[in-house]
């Protein structure tokens, strides 16, 4: 195991070649014997230079160097072979790999990028960032990361999800995480090509209570899908912006985390205006909004395109709007009406609705859901868990209408009723979101004016 010390170029390199090739083709005797042989040689060399400590040190250092060079070189060859193997054995063409990557949330995308060079290359492709979903990696996402991802996606960014689906504790406040002020800077970020963005999801983002928080929407003129979870007061200017800037919105889902003030027709004028003037709005979900029945009626009636209306967990609706809806809603295309877990929903209103549908009104409706974990309010003010709805007759007369009225008894485990087919996992989670303060709608509104 000694190397030539002569400075001449050619003989030493030839010698090196022969040494190395003989090392590589070394007979496969046990590694222990190779090691012990190596050790013996090294010890001998050290012993022969025993008088000079610096020479010994140098020898050891050089040997270390050599060996590590060899190791690195072998690793590199292995990697080259692995790369070649990957590119030939992987089944999908790169475009399809990129497509698969675009369907994966961003944290998993980063992990996939760390698998092999082929994946890495595909993960750097712009199209892989078409759907940036950062909801699974909340604690690590900060402003730089988001900017970086937006830059990577460039003009291919089609959907962006920021925040976390779980409500954050007030104690984990980290100023560098994504928050309201950052959102407002997005509108001025040159990398952020908002006009190509189709879908935006903001989940429980802090600091969204300033007037500038929704500026980001003003650059997203082609937005079709907007989900905001954890909306705080004041928020009516959101609807102003939507009316002006986001004319192409088709699906809107908003959930509020606090108990906002009651929204009557005056306060909710921006909201009503938005729904009326929005040319493409097909589905509207306002979860935990304290709407009055009048507002609910206006929402259900004013849009010519609205097909799906979900006003669940609204503690101020008592169902009167259902009367008006079925009467005046002749041309309305409303197909699905969901008022789950509305505390004050009255049994008699729903009954009247059923009867009216049986008679033939409300032609467009296909699916109604009035399920409630706490039952409906019956005529005598108590809660009724087994209201008598004319279900068989409904089936007879209007077989295309489904009425979901699930009232789990108070002793059973609360389970979530069967959802409409349009509701995906996320929407269900959003509907069921609870406050950290654990004051659910039911308890706090008992104290409210009855």
């Amino acid at each position: 195991m000694d190397s030539p010390t002569s400075p001449a170029q050619n003989p030493s390199s030839v010698h090196a070649h022969s040494i190395i090739s003989s090392l590589l083709t070394f007979p496969d005797s046990s590694p222990l014997s190779i090691v012990s042989c190596f050790h013996r040689e090294l010890e001998q060399a050290l012993a022969s230079a025993s008088d000079d400590a610096s020479v010994q040190e140098r020898l050891v250092d050089r040997t270390l160097q050599l060996v590590s060079i060899l190791l690195e070189s072998t690793k590199r060859s292995f990697r080259k072979r692995a790369t070649a193997h990957n590119s030939s054995s992987w089944f999908l063409p790169p475009e399809l790999t990129v497509k698969v990557f675009s369907m994966v949330d961003t944290k998993s995308l980063m992990r996939a990028a760390a698998c092999c060079t082929m994946f890495n290359k595909c993960a750097m492709d712009r199209f892989a960032y078409a759907h940036v979903d950062l909801t699974t990696a909340t604690s690590q996402v900060d402003i730089k990361v988001v900017c970086n991802l937006i830059h990577r996606a460039g003009k291919e960014l089609r959907s962006l999800k920021l925040g976390s689906l779980a409500r954050p504790y007030p104690s984990d406040f980290n100023p560098s995480l994504v928050n309201g002020p950052f959102l407002s800077t997005l509108s001025r970020n040159p990398d952020f090509i908002g006009s190509r963005l189709k879908s935006l999801g903001l989940y429980n983002i802090r600091g969204m209570d300033r007037s500038t928080s929704f500026d980001v929407l003003s650059v997203c003129s082609n937005l079709t899908d907007l989900r905001i979870v954890g909306l705080n007061d004041p928020f009516m200017h959101l609807f102003k912006i939507l009316t002006e800037k986001c004319r192409l919105i088709e699906h809107l889902c908003i959930e509020t985390s606090q108990l906002l003030s009651i929204i009557n027709t005056v306060k909710g004028s921006d909201l009503i205006k938005f729904v009326t003037n929005s040319p493409n709005l097909t589905s509207l979900r306002l979860i935990r909004f304290r709407l009055t029945d009048k507002v609910a009626r206006l929402l259900a009636q004013s849009s010519r395109t609205l097909e799906y209306l979900n006003l669940s967990r609204s503690s101020t609706i008592n169902g009167r709007f259902l009367r008006d809806v079925r009467n005046s809603c002749k041309e309305s295309p409303l197909k699905t009406l969901i008022v789950r877990n509305c505390l004050k929903l009255q049994e008699k209103e729903v009954l009247e609705l059923c009867n009216s549908i049986i008679k033939g009104n409300f032609k467009s409706i296909r699916h109604i859901d009035v399920s409630n974990n706490r039952g409906l309010v019956s005529d005598d003010g108590k809660r009724s868990y087994k209201p008598k709805f004319p279900l068989e007759k409904l089936k007879e007369e209007r077989s295309d209408v489904t009425l979901v009225a699930d009232f789990p008894s108070p002793w059973s485990v609360k389970h979530y009723p069967v959802c409409h087919e349009e509701d995906d996992e996320e929407l269900r989670k959003i509907e069921m979101m609870e406050d950290d303060a654990s004051s659910s709608d039911e308890e706090s509104s008992e104290d409210d004016l009855g």
Binding site: E57, D61, N86, R111, C115, M118
Partner: protein, 340 residues
């Protein structure tokens, strides 16, 4: 009589069949409606009129072997019936997607070559669900992909070579290094080589890194450190690896959180520790030659001359990476010079 009856009856009850030949040579007959569900086959029939007889069978693309083809046919057969509800189709699709991963990949590529978009979407999302939530180790296991990334490449999936602030930072680091080098020239005259060198390099590194934990790690154990030093010398001879080294430092300074995002699991953490021991690799062949050719006399002298040399060489790689589009360009540089 019965025969003639049969003759009259047959044309009415008989469905039209298309002949298809898969990549591995087997020829099959398939009902026309089912086959027409695939746009590619549709086109072949309409534009080229093929498939009407056994001899003129439509040959399917290479990626479609007979096993995959029968799967695809099942899919088409179910979905081309118009009367099924959305829910039924969803349920069928869910069941259909339950197969082992390799077959899923094959099915995706087969469906893609037949341009059967709904099936491609379905299989892609099934693959996406498989990838979701898994660590890189697990993903490699599932798809049988050997690991061919270097440690620092794993740590920098969010790296962006077009980052201007980082180029600026790099230049600043070069300036700092030049200053350090001048200092070391002065100190070089002292013969306590190991100690002095260690300290100055240590200072240099901590200066570059700017973070305490790194310094603490690096000062652990002299021998371990010497090995690191050796590797740094080796790597300093190399353009690309040095470039990578600086880039890594730059990234650390500006985006340490970015790395936190990526070094989520322990598996990534351990290569990180290993990475700090042996920072860069690549391009050992020319370095090795140089090492073997030179006299192993004075380590300190070589250390300094190497730093100076590499500083001269460094400028070029920076320009390469600016002009390059992404990491692959740099990798090409590395590989091409490795072939020398």
């Amino acid at each position: 009589m019965s025969e003639s009856d049969l003759d009259i009856m047959e044309p009415e009850t008989m469905k039209s069949y298309i002949w298809l030949q898969t990549a591995d040579g087997s020829v099959q007959q398939v009902e026309q409606e089912v086959a027409m569900f695939c746009p590619m086959i549709c086109q072949e029939i309409i534009h080229k009129g093929a498939g009407s007889s056994k001899n003129h069978a439509i040959s399917l693309p290479q990626r479609v072997n007979s096993a995959m083809f029968s799967l695809i046919l099942d899919y088409c057969r179910f979905h081309q019936v118009p009367g099924r509800s959305n829910k039924e189709r969803k349920v069928y699709d869910e069941k259909f997607m339950r197969m082992e991963t390799k077959r899923l990949c094959e099915l995706t590529s087969a469906a893609d070559s037949l341009q059967l978009k709904p099936l491609v979407d379905l299989t892609s999302s099934a693959l996406a669900r498989i990838i979701e939530g898994k660590t890189p180790e697990e993903i490699r296991d599932i798809f049988h992909l050997p690991d061919d990334l270097t440690e620092e490449e794993k740590l920098e999936p969010l790296k962006n070579t077009m980052d201007d602030p980082r180029i600026r930072l790099l230049n600043r680091l070069y300036a700092k290094k030049r200053k350090e080098l001048k200092e070391r020239e002065r100190l070089k005259n002292v013969e306590v080589e190991g100690h002095v060198d260690e300290r100055s390099v240590d200072d240099l590194l901590s200066f570059i890194n700017g973070t305490d934990p790194k310094v603490a790690k690096m000062s652990k154990g002299k021998k371990k450190y010497k090995k690191k030093k050796n590797q740094k010398i080796i790597s300093s001879n190399d353009k690309e690896s040095h470039d990578l080294h600086f880039k890594q430092q730059g990234v650390e300074e500006t985006g340490s959180r970015m790395r936190d995002l990526l070094s989520l699991e322990d598996e990534i953490f351990t290569p990180k520790a290993g990475c700090e021991d042996g920072d860069i690799d690549d391009e050992i062949d020319p370095a090795m030659k140089e090492m073997l050719d030179r006299e192993v006399e004075d380590f300190a002298r070589r250390l300094n001359s190497n730093w100076a040399q590499s500083l001269g060489q460094e400028r070029r790689p920076v320009h390469f990476s600016i002009n390059g589009n992404n990491g692959t360009t740099r990798r090409h540089i590395g590989q091409s010079s490795g072939h020398n």
